[in-house]
């Protein structure tokens, strides 16, 4: 792979997908498990982040949508049900397919976009059904009718007026609140630049998220701004612009009355008695023209910065609408008189009761309080202010907090004022900022830690980031595992194999030293060295084998998903228990066992376990039990799959076997029940009445048996009708090193795997009997058929009749003893078996090849195929 980053990403992505899938299954069972939610969310989030580095937009989009849903699940605004789990798992499957494609081709498949949008639509259905209202709706507790978002208060009056008239002229104004992630600069985001790209901007309000730190302590690379935007652009365009960060924005359609709000310094209401009376009259008679003229006249006289002027500006703006809203006009007339806008007139009583929850714009007191606080902050910025100013500030702020019910720690304000008197205004400034934030609806928690210094020094902040819950930096310090490409381990193993083989040449050398050069001394020394190298080579090999050992959980972890999906499809209830996941076996074994195991599991679920109704009728619990166990037994790994289903019925098996010509009726009648059950391992056998999509795809149990036997293992099935079935697979721990015995036939050497050899005998010729065409001999009261190696391998039979005895290798093949007539026995040895590959792959009868110490190639036989 040319892109090293991608090479790192692929295994990581697979892990993350696995973690997410496992977590989802856990969550389905325990929806309240917040650890699982967090785990899945983090995994998907990381996957999304990393995938963004590559040309894999479809993948990123899909994972992103999944992340959004998980976010909603985490915040409990969306409930996780089985259908949603299905959808999320489907998305993960898709992602996994793409990862495979990425690995092979380093790019996404051409149909990825289409597939992704299909899945996205399905995921979005959940999002729009449940999430959208939750995140887009106002935060009011009684969110029956929508209310203005808090950030609107930060938009300048002129801009709000512009938006208001835009709505009046028929435009749809979208409000967007963009809260960029703190580290967004590192992702290449430039929030303001993004805002710049929004078409038809009406207003932009930039505000600071955390109170601004002194310049010396600011981290220039942390984003600390929130941005509120009003725009007349279509929502689609805005969504498209922010498609990579939908979680950072909130959009909503702005209602015109939300925009109304007064600006200007609140002060004594100006005497406008005449205007009030006249205006009320004009409003009652709905003489909008007259009202407009009257308001304009007064506005010409008013101080433009006053609240009155602001109220009049709004009055005029509302009157400019084709259908002025009398309720707002009434509210504005009240505002002109009192200096405080309390919302539209008719709805005032309801507005006031809901004051705490509604937006500040709707709450005149809050708005006024805000402007008071900002005035105090401006005063603090003045070059010098005397103690009397401080004293009045203390009174104003104190009263304000009391009036607005702002919890401020006792003594904090006094302390800050006192400090300010000594010339240190930072505490006071911080306190004011906090109150301001409280007023603008910032985190209420800000008030709680009022005694702590507000501005966390940079170093401390960095430290707290380091100790963040995901603990990444901590983990970095204790990395104890190393991710290595398996190909590298395989290379290492091959090299160790070469070492073993070349080490084997030393005894030959010793022999030559002795026989050819006549130096017995030298020969002994070589043998001594050989002993050392031999030991080291064994250890190296052992160590590498240990690296290749994988826990069976590698494959077991996939099954809960399979079982769940199948059970859902078949309408069965199944409880899967998995034990011994940490039992380790060689990677080759683990990988090769997956398919047979899956097949057996599918059989158990499809044919073994019954539906809840059938189970209840049979007097069992409605929930079927399926257990998957792995354990070590001497040098074998045993995997057992046990179900408490219907079991295998020998009668049915016998009938089916006869039906399918697997066996004839007479032989079948002779078989015991267990032997009958074993018939299912014969090729061409399948008892399922219907070939379902889940199992019985023509690959029967015979394939399971062949695969397992190819790995050097065995399968056994025991079953009791009505009680259940147990399938037991025994497999070697490792298949890298095979012990073979060398035998000679027609002048060439062949290897026979030790595990099939029972014993070696030298057989006098007269003990060989011919029965029909075959030869047999009797060994300890047992008739054993004989096979001649030269005939099996079609070698020239050079042996004359002269020899009076035959060398016979007694082997057990498929459970039956057989005698193999060979020319001679040689020593046994450990070899690394290399499978035949390339054009040799199809040659039957050979398990593989290995190199001998003197450089010759040894063919190792596969007797099961030969006989």
């Amino acid at each position: 792979m040319s892109n090293p980053l991608l090479a790192t990403f692929i295994p990581e992505a697979r892990d993350l997908i696995q973690i997410s899938a496992a977590g989802l299954l856990k969550l389905e069972k325990q929806p309240d498990n917040s650890d699982a939610v967090n785990e899945v969310f983090r995994a998907v989030h990381t996957l999304k982040g990393s995938s963004g580095l590559f040309e894999a937009a479809a993948l990123t989009r899909l994972v992103h949508a999944a992340e959004d849903l998980l976010g909603a699940i985490r915040s409990e605004s969306l409930e996780l049900d089985s259908d949603l789990v299905d959808k999320l798992l489907d998305s993960l499957d898709m992602a996994s397919t793409w990862i495979d494609h990425l690995e092979r081709h380093e790019k996404m498949p051409p149909d990825a976009d289409a597939l992704s949008s299909g899945l996205l639509r399905e995921l979005r259905r959940y999002a729009t059904a449940d999430v959208a209202p939750a995140s887009h709706a106002p935060k009011a507790n009684d969110a029956v009718d929508r209310s203005a978002p808090d950030w609107l208060a930060g938009i300048e009056e002129g801009d709000r007026l512009a938006a208001f008239s835009a709505i009046a002229s028929g435009a749809k104004v979208i409000g967007l609140f963009y809260r960029p992630a703190e580290g967004c600069f590192f992702n290449g985001d430039d929030p303001l630049n993004l805002i710049r790209q929004i078409p038809e901007l009406i207003a932009v309000g930039i505000s600071e998220r955390a109170p601004r730190a002194p310049l010396a302590e600011i981290d220039p690379y942390l984003c600390n701004v929130d941005i509120g935007v009003l725009s007349a652009a279509p929502l689609d365009e805005i969504d498209h612009l922010f498609r990579y960060m939908p979680e950072q924005i909130e959009t909503l359609t702005i209602e015109p009355e939300w925009l109304v709000g007064l600006a200007g310094a609140p002060g004594e209401p100006e005497p406008i008695g005449d205007f009030s009376t006249e205006a009320e009259h004009l409003l009652e008679t709905e003489d909008f023209d007259g009202l407009r003229k009257s308001a304009s006249r007064l506005y010409d006289l008013a101080d433009r910065t006053s609240v009155l002027a602001s109220a009049l500006r709004w009055l005029i703006a509302v009157l400019d609408q084709p259908q002025p809203d009398c309720a707002i006009l009434g509210g504005l007339l009240d505002a002109a008189a009192s200096g405080v806008y309390s919302g539209p007139r008719h709805g005032r009583s309801t507005r006031e009761t809901g004051a705490e929850n509604s937006a500040p714009l709707m709450n005149p007191n809050r708005l006024a309080a805000q402007s008071i606080i900002s005035a105090q902050r401006r005063i603090l910025d003045l070059p010098d202010f005397g103690p009397e100013r401080l004293a009045s500030m203390a009174t104003i702020v104190g009263n304000l907090c009391e009036a607005m019910d702002i919890p401020i720690a006792g003594g904090e304000l006094e302390g800050a004022i006192a400090a300010a008197g000594r010339g240190d205004v930072s505490h006071l400034r911080a306190a004011l900022e906090r109150i301001d934030r409280h007023l603008t609806g910032g985190p209420a928690a800000a008030m709680a830690k009022s005694d702590a210094p507000e501005q966390i020094p940079l170093a401390q902040a960095a430290a707290s980031r380091a100790a963040a819950p995901d603990g990444a930096p901590e983990a970095a310090a204790q990395i104890r595992t190393l991710k290595v490409d398996t190909a590298k381990v395989d290379d290492l193993l091959n090299l160790a194999g070469e070492l073993v083989v070349s080490k084997n040449s030393l005894p030959f050398l010793a022999k030559r030293a002795e026989e050819v050069y006549g130096s017995r001394e030298m020969a002994r020394e070589i043998r001594d060295r050989y002993a050392v190298i031999h030991r080291l080579a064994q250890e190296i090999q052992g160590a590498i084998m240990a690296v290749r050992m994988l826990p069976v959980s590698e494959i077991f972890d996939r099954y809960p998903r399979v079982v769940r999906d199948m059970a859902r499809k078949l309408g069965k209830r199944i409880e899967l228990t998995v034990d011994g996941g940490d039992t380790a076996a060689d990677k080759t074994i683990i990988e090769a066992i997956n398919d047979p195991l899956l097949h057996v599991l599918r059989n158990s679920i499809d044919h073994g376990l019954e539906t809840p109704e059938q189970r209840i009728a049979a007097g069992k619990t409605p929930e079927g039990r399926l257990s998957l166990r792995a354990f070590r037994e001497s040098d074998q790994v045993v995997i057992e799959i046990e179900d408490n289903g219907a079991g295998v019925d020998p009668v049915a098996v016998r009938a089916a076997a006869i039906n399918k010509d697997v066996i004839d009726a007479e032989s079948a009648a002779l078989l015991s029940d267990q032997e009958t059950i074993n018939l299912i391992f014969r090729p061409g056998f399948s008892t399922a009445k219907v070939v379902s999509d889940l199992s019985g795809r023509g690959v029967g149990m015979d394939v399971v048996r062949t695969t397992v036997e190819k790995l050097g293992g065995s399968v056994a099935l025991t079953s009791r009708v009505g009680e259940g079935t147990t399938i037991r697979m025994s497999l070697p721990l490792s298949m890298a090193v095979t012990r073979v015995m060398m035998v000679e036939a027609a002048g060439a050497l062949y290897g026979v795997p030790m595990d099939v050899i029972v014993e070696t005998v030298r057989l006098p010729r007269e003990r060989i009997h011919a029965i029909k065409n075959g030869e047999t001999f009797v060994l300890r009261d047992m008739v054993i058929p004989l096979a001649r190696m030269t005939r099996l391998l079609r070698l020239p039979d050079e042996r004359s009749e002269a020899a009076d005895s035959e060398a016979v290798l007694v082997c057990r093949v498929n459970g039956n003893p057989v005698g193999l007539v060979i020319d001679d026995f040689h020593e046994d040895m450990d070899v690394i078996l290399k499978p035949l590959d390339g054009i040799l792959t199809g040659i039957r009868g050979f398990a593989g090849t290995t190199l001998l110490g003197d450089g010759r190639v040894l063919l190792v036989l596969n007797l099961k195929e030969l006989l």
């Binding site: 300048e156 960029p180 600069f185 430039d190 929030p191 303001l192 630049n193 805002i195 710049r196 901007l201 207003a203 932009v204 930039i206 600071e208 601004r212 730190a213 002194p214 310049l215 010396a216 600011i218 220039p220 690379y221 984003c223 600390n224 701004v225 401006r378 910025d381 070059p383």
Partner: protein, 83 residues
Amino acid sequence: MSLRFVRNTVYFEECCVVDEALDLAEFLRRTKAPKIVLSDCASAHTALIQLLAAAPGKKITPPKDAFLARFVMPYLSECAGAR
């Protein structure tokens, strides 16, 4: 470099990117009353704007760029007051 520092003045020219945030922070920290010339600034990264907003006692020559002038300047001038 699209930021040019001349004694107590920083000139923003063309597109000013995030890479210069550290230099700008350094400049603003050591300069008492910085002058900030935005006239020829076509765009400025949020990181830079954030820093400018935090700088006390600054004097800003307003930008010609419509977006900056219309939407960013109010934010900067709101925070223009001396400490």
